[in-house]
């Protein structure tokens, strides 16, 4: 039972890293990447071939590239980097001409192209046979399975904490605000001088990096990887987890990963088999689909909706006049002096606000010399 729980937690943490990365792309910026799991797979392959040496003979003839036999942390870093670079390339090729749903269609196409290429080009990752004998990390080869699982869990939990920190920081920052604006209405964001293209590229690269790292961890844990592990439906399960958990909320991503992927998906692997072998797999997909439909019907914002920043609800501030009753003359605005540290980006700090004529009032608000 303890091993079962450890296994669930380890896979849960790895899946959560994936969903947190997907949340950055879709939940924050609204970029629909229907081939997200391809980046997970790319990370898994890169982590495998950069940490493996020559093909082991006891698994038969294997063909794969690189064979660098690097230490596993380097392999994990390269896994994330490879996925990030792949994400960057994909977006650079498409973002100038495509938006929203068209971009989503391209991601599906890219996923099929990559899957078919990897499956059929054997020298790269041994085609449809896949790669076996991916080395255990730490001292995994010399310990029993529960201990190795606990070690993977510890590493995955630390990486997940880092990913959550990045998500939290981005959500609270002006960069996060630009991403949310891009998600809501890209034209509005552009009309206020925001570089929406750069914002989308950055968030796509960061999310892809997380996918690659999660894939690398998964490869080290399973010690095998093949095209059968990254069928297109895997991306949709991650989307289902995010939507049900609550897109735009990193806690929602976390809940979605554990509740949907683990409870509904992984637990079913341990159910006693009955009927045809495919019944449990099909039942799992149906169950996730039903839960997704129910959530979209009755709670479209997900189990944990996007949070409002408490930071904005700071202190009592002067309220304006009732709508429809314009203040006569002066005195509608009374405010404390601005923070003198304000000054970057064409917003020079000037003196305090004076409740005088219209010109002074506006000057005080804009903090710039309007000449």
């Amino acid at each position: 039972m303890a091993y079962f729980l450890l296994d669930l937690l380890a896979l849960g943490c790895i899946n959560a890293i994936m969903v947190v990365g997907l949340n950055l792309q879709y939940g924050y910026a609204g970029v629909l990447n229907f081939t997200y799991y391809t980046f997970v797979a790319l990370g898994a392959y890169v982590a495998a071939v950069t940490t493996m040496g020559a093909p082991p003979t006891n698994f038969g003839v294997e063909h794969y590239a690189l064979q660098w036999a690097l230490p596993w942390p380097v392999g994990l870093l390269l896994a994330g980097t490879a996925a990030a670079v792949a994400g960057l390339l994909m977006l650079l090729l498409t973002i100038r001409r495509l938006r929203s749903d068209y971009l989503a269609i391209v991601t599906v196409s890219v996923g099929f192209i990559v899957w078919n290429f990897i499956t059929n080009y054997i020298p790269l990752f041994d085609g449809s046979n896949g790669i076996f004998g991916i080395p255990y990390i730490l001292n995994g080869a010399g310990v029993d399975e529960p201990t190795y699982t606990a070690e993977i869990l510890a590493i995955a939990a630390m990486i997940l904490a880092g990913c959550l920190w990045v998500s939290w920081r981005i959500f609270r920052s002006p960069f996060g605000r630009v991403l949310r604006a891009v998600r809501e209405d890209e034209i509005v964001a552009e009309s206020f001088g925001k570089d929406t293209r750069a914002a989308k590229i950055w968030v796509f690269v960061i999310g892809s990096f997380m996918a690659g790292v999660a894939g690398g961890l998964l490869a080290f844990y399973l010690t095998a990887w093949s095209p059968a592990a990254f069928l297109p439906e895997e991306s949709f399960i991650l989307f289902a987890a995010l939507v049900i958990g609550g897109s735009g909320n990193y806690w929602g991503a976390l809940v979605g990963a554990f509740v949907i992927i683990e409870l509904l998906s992984e637990i079913s692997r341990y159910l006693p088999s009955f009927g045809h072998a495919s019944v449990i797999g099909a039942g799992r997909a149906i169950l996730i689909g039903v839960v997704l439909i129910l959530i979209l019907q009755f709670r479209p914002e997900g189990m944990l909706p996007e949070r409002r920043l408490r930071w904005y609800r700071a202190r009592a501030l002067p309220t304006g006049p009732a709508q429809g009753a314009p203040p006569a003359g002066t005195g509608a605005l009374t405010a404390a002096p601005l923070d003198p540290s304000m000054g970057a980006g064409g917003m020079p700090a000037t003196g305090e606000y004076r409740s005088a004529g219209a010109r002074d009032r506006l000057r005080a608000i804009f903090r710039r010399d309007l000449g």
């Binding site: 990045v166 920081r169 981005i170 920052s173 002006p174 960069f175 996060g176 605000r177 630009v178 949310r180 604006a181 809501e184 209405d185 509005v188 552009e190 009309s191 206020f192 001088g193 925001k194 929406t196 914002a199 950055w202 968030v203 996007e306 409002r308 920043l309 904005y312 609800r313 501030l317 002067p318 309220t319 304006g320 009732a322 709508q323 429809g324 009753a325 314009p326 509608a332 605005l333 405010a335 404390a336 601005l338 923070d339 540290s341 304000m342 970057a344 980006g345 064409g346 917003m347 606000y353 219209a358 010109r359 009032r361 506006l362 000057r363 005080a364 608000i365 804009f366 710039r368 309007l370």
Partner: protein, 249 residues
Amino acid sequence: MLDIRDVGFAYGGAWAVDGCTFVVPKARVTGLVGPNGAGKSTLIEVVSGGLRPRRGTVTFDGEDITGLGRTAVARKGIIRTFQEARILGRLPVIENVMLAAQGQVGESALWSLFGVRRWQAQETALRQRADELLSWLGLGDVRERQAGTLSGGQRRLLDMARALMAGPKLLLLDEPSAGVFPTVAHLIAVRVREIVASGITVLVVAHNMAFLGEIADDVVVMAQGKVLTRGTLDEVRAHQAVIAAYLGT
């Protein structure tokens, strides 16, 4: 300030704007009127960088900005509002306004992660400024509400607050009084006059002549993509070509 020279834009084969030429002088309110299909909103779209004209030039403060694109044009100081107030519904009102400020350090991905102290100081000042603007436009009480819950009139005011937050040199107002209660329209008119008094230039598209009468220093009349005439509101109202364009005679 803004010099529009022989600008033409066609949707397919139909010229929506056809050889438009006029100047918007600094620190004044210029009204842009005309019957439906006159090309006013297309022209606003061309000036704000949303559409690249097929011919002609748009010059702002002596610099050619023709076809620069929305982001680049906004960074020059030309900020627009929309015919349908396009608020960001899932964001709180105050975040809608704060978004618009230019030169935010924390909008860079790397600074957002590793330069927290720098952008947090700026955020404090921005929040204060956004609060002031919202109060000034009568939205102080709803600053924390989700923008999607605002009424039509409140959305118009939010659209304006957001545009002002961007620190515009030229403000393009597209139908700011459309579909709002007369008292809100009056509030908008009063505020527009105060904005102009602070040195900002305004080009406003409007159908509501009473509203335009409150704010416009002069009026450009368009019909069928061309400029018909220009003058004070009373002058253009008496112009035969304008009467013909509106009445279809």
